[in-house]
């Protein structure tokens, strides 16, 4: 089987930099602003997210192509995908607690936040909409995860410094975080000409 590796690489770069989930697609903003206050939580969140994104991309691809397409029930994709992700997150929560308690105490709280998150749900929905094959779906999940991790870590490192800054009272907290992300988003528009797909 010959895979087109340049295409996969392009897909990962496109998903992580050009169509960055946070800065150009605006998904996962609640989580993005919620956990980007401290570097440690930001790193934990990005690791969990990337893993869950890839696995849920794989799971929902299998279900979409082998169950839903043959049965002609693709219009139910929203319901099915959210069910698959919720079930998978719940299962991994239980398994992790038994098998790897140390890891669970570090990342468990993030898992609970994930099941109803738009960014996780968006990956299978986009995969289904673009008709990616299995490997491409995985690559898209990985690229999106990297992009989200990048965004969280950049933001967390800026916000740690922002704590010390003297900001006008109405702008304190969330409004300032929005302005900062606007500036980062401006920088990310520079990537838009990187690859012409």
């Amino acid at each position: 089987m010959t895979m087109d590796f340049t295409k996969l690489f392009e897909l990962i770069i496109a998903a992580s930099l050009i169509n960055n989930f946070v800065f150009t697609r605006f998904l996962g903003l609640c989580i993005f602003f919620g956990v980007s206050k401290k570097m440690e939580t930001a790193v934990g969140m990005s690791v969990t997210f990337t893993a869950v994104m890839m696995i849920s991309a794989a799971l929902s691809w299998v279900i979409f192509n082998f169950v839903m397409v043959p049965l002609d029930i693709t219009f139910l994709k929203i319901i099915v995908f959210i069910g698959v992700i919720a079930a998978f997150v719940q299962a991994s929560d239980t398994i992790m607690r038994k098998v790897a308690p140390g890891l669970y105490y570090k990342l468990g709280i993030y898992l609970a936040l994930i099941s109803t998150n738009c960014i996780i749900l968006a990956v299978p929905l986009i995969n289904a909409g673009e008709h990616y094959n299995f490997i491409e779906s995985l690559a898209f999940g990985l690229g999106s995860g990297i992009g989200f991790a990048l965004a969280l870590i950049i933001m967390a490192s800026i916000r740690e410094k922002l704590e010390l800054a003297d900001i006008p009272a109405p702008f304190r907290g969330l409004p300032m975080a929005f302005i900062v992300s606007g500036l980062i988003a401006l920088a990310f528009t520079g990537f838009s000409g990187l690859i012409t797909l």
Binding site: F26, G34, I78, I82, A169, F171, L174, G182
Partner: protein, 210 residues
């Protein structure tokens, strides 16, 4: 006697969703579409209407079913109800406004992951009768619609010099406002404005500080 008390009650519920607990400006929930679809007024309003519809219908459904839902399985059932109504909204928009749906279909589908809708179902509709739940849904939905309208109005006006597609300003518009970055700026500045009003006139601390 109950009649007058009830009407006041409903108005309060709607006002609560519209102003006091405005989803975007006060609770800072469901922020994704507030930036993603607000680069012109038409998309913003349609998104708001879709959310208003889903929130109201979900609240009514949950309220009707509240006595039959076992507390242990309530979250999966809430998710099922929400995704059912979102699918209806999604398919109707694909049928009736295909042009706009092409641009923002993904965000319509993602209404299902809105924390605010699940939160209202959990906190309000599962504990209250049908009429108040409906009023609460309408209030929360209107609050969302209001926020989206304000954001997209300013972004389209400044970014394209037009309102609802009609050109108003002849000068060269500031393109940055319809770029992704402009969305963040617009929401940030509007939030700061709401905070400023709070501090200036109600002598409160900044509301959104998480």
């Amino acid at each position: 006697m109950a009649n007058t008390a009830d009407t006041v009650n409903y108005l309060d519920l709607i006002k609560n969703g519209l102003i006091k607990e405005n989803t975007i400006f006060k609770l800072a929930l469901s922020l994704c579409p507030s930036i993603a679809v607000t680069n012109n007024l038409k998309n913003g309003v349609l998104m708001g209407v879709a959310v208003l519809f889903v929130q109201t219908m979900v609240n009514i459904t949950i309220s009707v079913l509240r006595k039959f839902i076992h507390p242990k399985v309530r979250l999966p059932i809430f998710m099922l109800v929400i995704s059912g109504w979102v699918t209806i909204a999604d398919m109707s928009m694909a049928a009736f406004v295909p042009d706009i749906y092409k641009q923002m279909g993904l965000y319509i589908q993602l209404i299902v992951a809105f924390a605010s809708i699940l939160a209202r179902a959990e906190m309000f509709a599962s504990k209250n009768k049908i009429a108040p739940s409906m009023a609460d849904g309408i209030g929360m939905g209107l609050g969302f619609l209001f926020a989206l309208t304000v954001i997209s109005f300013f972004r389209e006006l400044i970014g394209k010099g037009s309102v609802w597609g009609y050109a108003l300003i002849n000068a060269k518009p500031l393109l940055i406002m319809i770029l992704p970055a402009g969305g963040f700026f617009a929401v940030g500045i509007l939030m700061a404005l709401f905070n400023w009003i709070d501090i200036r006139y109600f002598k409160k601390g900044p509301a959104a500080s998480h």
